[in-house]
Symmetry: D3
């Protein structure tokens, strides 16, 4: 019987070999061409378990004015998620820390708080505010493309892990979009109703020109 069984083995091996496992996963080949659906796939023979594992175990550096750090595990950092419709990041919020108002243009976010307490919120298209103080073990979902933020709600460091519904969710931070580039002040003012002094001050601080 064993010999016959081996026949199955060879039969199916043949079948399985010929139907490459391209569809099971598509680990990003960061040097290959990129298309609308993501990075090219690494050759299966070169894929190892390390492609599917990433460490978010180390705190980001929060010695900065927002007292916060974001460590992404998107497809560009974590090639294993390419094409799989999911990714993650780590947020570290020192006391007083803030993740400023931002959007993810291409994904919804599901935030898990694992330490400390975080005041989180988002604003919908009809300008309603959804605001909640989250504690350890709480999760909160931020629908795709809407403005949202996270603020450390207590005197101790908070840690949270946002998951995203895309391997490449994008991140547009409002203040950097408005003030950290060469978008002319006059245009910022006309399109935000902010006054010239405010715009120029923030541009100066955030490295913007114009």
């Amino acid at each position: 019987m064993k010999l016959k069984m081996l026949q199955i083995f060879f039969l199916f091996s043949l079948l399985l070999f010929s139907s490459s496992h391209a569809l099971d996963f598509c680990v990003a080949d960061l040097k290959g061409p990129i298309g609308p659906s993501g990075y090219s796939c690494k050759i299966p023979a070169k894929v190892t378990v390390e492609d599917f594992v990433f460490s978010l175990g180390k705190a980001g550096n929060t010695s900065n004015i927002i007292k916060a750090a974001v460590t992404p595990a998107f497809a560009a950092q974590f090639p294993g998620v390419n094409g799989l419709g999911i990714s993650m990041a780590r947020l570290d919020l020192a006391p007083g820390g803030v993740i400023p108002m931002h959007t993810h243009p291409g994904a919804s976010e599901l935030l898990l708080v694992v330490q400390g307490s975080i005041l989180a919120g988002f604003i919908s298209s009809d300008n309603s505010v959804y605001l909640k103080t989250l504690k350890k073990g709480d999760i909160m979902v931020f629908p795709q493309g809407l403005l949202h933020f996270q603020i450390n709600a207590k005197g101790k460091t908070a840690i949270a892990f946002p998951s995203f519904s895309s391997p490449d969710p994008g991140l547009q931070i409002l203040d950097f979009a408005l003030f950290a580039n060469n978008l002319p002040s006059v245009i910022v003012e006309k399109t935000t109703f902010l006054d010239d002094a405010t715009v120029k001050a923030l541009k100066a601080v955030l490295g913007g020109t114009g």
Copy 2:
């Protein structure tokens, strides 16, 4: 031969009737249940050509401080586009008119200028600015979820028609999201780096509280 032909007619009629044309289109029944993919479909027997036609021929009222008007033809106004992955709107920009900084959380936009001249721009996730003065006949694409704006670039009224890659693209206007609701000023300040006076002034003007 005619009789035999009628046989085909009956044969196929039967076939075509039994495979309802649910897939051809799904005109929104605005009173039915809504799901993640859009509105429920109107009964085909009640669908008429009027469901597929909408007028954007009338200028919006620009007698307001932004000297601009947006007239949407999304699924809620124009039920024929429900489920079809597309919609449109009309922009009227009087001299000095501005469509303030905003995003569409669920769609890319393709803007067509049909009268006048418009200075349009968007900012990408890496804070690059893409800015262009558009004239009649120009089209410009604004990728999904990114901040963008339109400003009348000349002394005469401009008219433009944005198309969207969704029947329900959403519209989040930055100033309204920040200042036209009850999001507490202290939170706006922490998450935008704006000062208290600026935030309170804009909240007062735009009807916000807190």
Copy 3:
């Protein structure tokens, strides 16, 4: 404070740099490989605002027998729309002009009339006819894959801009599919019930053989 602010700048710059903006957009590299979801993406560093802007300002040449012209702004002509689920074209219809019966195999169409008057229609799977004379400012949606057409309804030139729910909607013109190639006449006749004389006459005119 400014120094500390610069720390944010560096922190976030690092973050934003490492999470390339591949997801914001994917401007077509027309010389790269093509996949089922579209063209490869141009390297972000080489992308400029010109990639996102296209002119449909010039009338097409209507000195032909259909007295009409179609000017496409699909991904192949307008690389900025690649991957964004939208594109556009321009129709010019001289007096008597006609866009013949056709389908877009991969997209719904939303037509905007900006000059003149157009008689437009589509036929659904159950053979119902949806017919309407459109005037300036009217929009009409043609659901994906269905036969439709546009006819100049008045004595003056009409201009319209169709938007599509795909960057590459395709265009199959019925008469060209049937008569402008080497599909044998006998097959055309069997599958359309047209007689041999009609088929051969149209093949002769449209350059078909067989």
Copy 4:
């Protein structure tokens, strides 16, 4: 040990019950509301194996002028495929039988010949013709939305089973779209270049008016 095992059973039963199996499948409730993604789902408790099985074992009636029959197993006939991205049909082609020129607006087709021989073809957007005589065991794919047809290639009855990449692929038969409704003859003529006599003759035969 058995008692402890039963504990797992209860634990997981609870889990599995609370996460209803809505995602496994969505058998069509043909009387419920329809949305852009398909029919509403039947209550799982009422679903039986019969919902997932359908018979295409009986030949369609080919006693008609096209000497052919199409028997669909789309979501409307076969509720089990609703939401699953696939469906099937049966083609019977008596000697001389033809499935006339048609499109499926919302699906690609993969045809399997199980008896006889069929001459099949499709025409692409650039008017290229892809034509092949298929024998028993051959499969041929017709890309989404393109015009195609099937003709019995031999003197005996042929049977084939087309699969579709949608539970509701649609079916637009060219001659019925043009001649079996009230689309005015003058419009058919203008948009197809067919002459008045041809159009009126076919309208008469196929039951069209106007």
Copy 5:
């Protein structure tokens, strides 16, 4: 100026009201009809921040033979994720605890370890094994539909949070699929090569019949 500003407010309020925020999110109405894309949407007026927040803060009961617990936050438990392409769960693994071999038919999984150490693995279509001992802060991705498992790798309780690329990922536990129902033993044996004694023993333990 304030009065004029109020004009904007009214203008835009009108606009925003008419374009309902159906697209921003679709909180599940668990009592409404379900379709292939998910649950019906709760009326926006009844949506509160509580719909977007869920607690996974409490350990599941691991007093069972697998010494493990799974607490889901899928759309059925956490209506806020409906339609947003993401969900989460909590795994508690007491010392010796195991999440048995299983698949998620409709989603990829991204597992985050927050306490203890977990030996996790998946098997691809070509039967390759991807196996890794994860420590606190590690994440591992399990591509859609593939068999995978998690085992507590140390003597202390482990906690992990899997995210999923669907609001309703499904969960098919191998042993329950084979042995906890009325699938006849003879069929289990023929399709798995397991012997009759093994099958009957496991059926007895897991509550199966036949």
Copy 6:
């Protein structure tokens, strides 16, 4: 008139040429880069009708212990289905033949029986069994990602053709995933509740180690 007609021909030829037919289809270039949405597209000029046709007319070799054969026509074997959301295979089941318990991680299956009789079944996430003896002409749908199997139900050879809702559906055969690789026996035992003797015996037969 003919000359003017030729003008159309040239006009449209130009148009059609410039909007390449990339969207009509994307025949797999098996040597080009692969991305999450499939293989790169062959250059249209090199595409012939043979790319769209494949033969499943020859019986697979059933001289093996399962007395069965699977012949795939997935994108890797049949490049024409790449990007089209559909594929097919052929099953041959000699008397006593079995297609063992398996899943397709990325597709639903629609099985057509063309000869003999097959006992087929699948198990849902809530462990319900859906079991049916299919005869010639019957079709049965197996929802995406769920365990299922096929057994020859009679004394004669059975033939069936499964269609899939993906050009690359994948195939994970349970016994091969568990026993035909280097997954350590102790892990198989912990995650399946099978005993050591059973696991080692099957590993020996199926070529597994560890």
